[in-house]
């Protein structure tokens, strides 16, 4: 449904927008992690796409920001994308387009107030019950290891792979011995 609004907002090529929208809907990623795995990711990504599309037009910037704040409360994985939202909304909504030193206070107030309201609604009950430390330790699991069980394919996976290979290395080429004279 939200993808439909993306298609509508595309100005350059409707065909391309349709193709992109269909590829997301039919994505095997969503099939694997949502329809079979767990956690309602499909619905959340729908909200993300809607928020991204709302950012396309000046008149719906505020709605886009508030929707993203709501999305953050639904699942904090989207915190990863928050810096881009912050800079974009700051530049496009809170500062004047001509002069970046001119602040549009009314817009700042609307956006800031809205975001505070969304977060208060989400975290208020936990704060009232004194559960915030428990909440934070669940949300940010630094006590768990660097790599997830199956190694997400990132730089650390390459790093671990290199480490595993280095274990099996033959006695190393003793260059450092020549250099240090030991």
């Amino acid at each position: 449904m939200h993808l439909y609004s993306f298609v509508d907002s595309a100005t350059t090529s409707k065909r391309a927008a349709h193709a992109a929208a269909i590829s997301i809907i039919l994505s095997p990623g969503l099939l694997i992690i949502d329809h079979i795995h767990f956690q309602y990711n499909g619905f959340l990504y729908g909200v993300l796409v809607l928020s991204l599309v709302l950012a396309r037009s000046k008149s719906t910037l505020l709605a886009s920001g508030l929707l993203f704040a709501g999305l953050l409360c639904l699942k904090h994985i989207y915190l990863y994308l928050a810096p881009a939202y912050f800079v974009f909304l700051l530049r496009e909504y809170c500062l004047s387009p001509r002069n970046i030193f001119k602040i549009r206070f009314m817009n700042c107030l609307k956006l800031g107030g809205g975001i505070v309201a969304v977060f208060a609604a989400a975290f208020g009950p936990f704060a009232a019950l004194g559960q915030i430390p428990q909440l934070l330790s669940r949300l940010f699991p630094f006590s768990r290891g660097l790599c997830h069980a199956y190694w997400a394919p990132n730089v650390w996976a390459l790093y671990s792979f290199a480490d595993r290979i280095l274990i099996y290395r033959k006695p190393p080429f003793p260059l450092h011995r020549y250099l240090t004279g030991k």
């Binding site: 992109a20 994505s27 991204l52 768990r144």
Partner: protein, 229 residues
């Protein structure tokens, strides 16, 4: 492959000590805690600083030129940075990169070129999440069908770019996609035929290292496109 190569070549020469307790522990598939035997440990602080650094670079451009296309590009790059350098990242976080990227992948052939290895790597890396034999046919057949269809349709629709393409990136993505075929075949069929139940961490390690090369490659490619347009 650069990072691996660098470490394979450099670490022995530095005479880094081998931590024997790490040999028996971790990183063999199912354990959550990671210990390195040879290379230095990574702290959450290192992850955080690296992530932030690679997020701020594209954001500087967004601040200077706040168009919608740049915004989607910087959302994609923020996703990349946190996925590549983050602490305890789950495989499914790759969709944080793929989905925003899809919205601009058809902008021109340069964008599409960087998107190709990501589409393959991202979805192949999700395979280990479904591990029972019963789920094997549907995930493989459906993913391959989707990849073929998407790549063909996108290939027809992506308009030519006004700027010259990066030669190396083209060759890289073609070769990369070709390698995925024997890899999937090995991990899902031949490994169990050859080794049976032993060395179960091997297919996982190959899958994630292969995918990591693809994701890092497409990240570098997209950085070039993002700052070049």
């Amino acid at each position: 492959m650069n990072k691996t190569l660098i470490y394979v070549l450099v670490a022995p020469r530095l005479g880094l000590p081998l931590k024997t307790e790490a040999l028996s522990s971790a990183t063999r598939g199912l354990v959550g805690d990671t210990a390195f035997a040879v290379l230095p440990e990574i702290t959450p602080r290192t992850c955080f600083i690296l992530t932030l650094f690679f997020q701020v670079i594209p954001l500087l451009k967004l601040f200077k030129k706040p168009t919608w296309d740049t915004f989607i590009g910087s959302v994609t790059l923020c996703g990349y940075a946190s996925f590549l350098f983050g602490w305890h990242v789950h495989e499914k976080a790759i969709l944080l990169v793929i989905i925003p990227f899809t919205l601009i992948a058809l902008k021109d052939r340069r964008h599409f070129g960087a998107f190709k290895p990501l589409a393959v790597a991202g979805h192949v890396s999700l395979f280990p999440l479904l591990f029972t034999p019963a789920e094997f046919p549907i995930k493989t057949v459906y993913t391959i069908f989707w990849l073929v269809l998407t790549l063909i349709v996108f290939d027809r629709l992506a308009p030519a770019s006004s700027k010259p393409r990066v030669f190396f990136l083209d060759r890289f993505s073609t070769l990369y996609i070709a390698v995925s075929i024997p890899l999937i075949a090995y991990c899902s069929i031949f490994h169990s035929l050859i080794f049976g139940k032993s060395y179960e961490f091997l297919p996982l390690m190959f899958t994630s290292s292969y995918s990591a090369v693809g994701v890092v490659g497409s990240w570098l490619g997209f950085l070039v496109v993002y700052f070049g347009s």
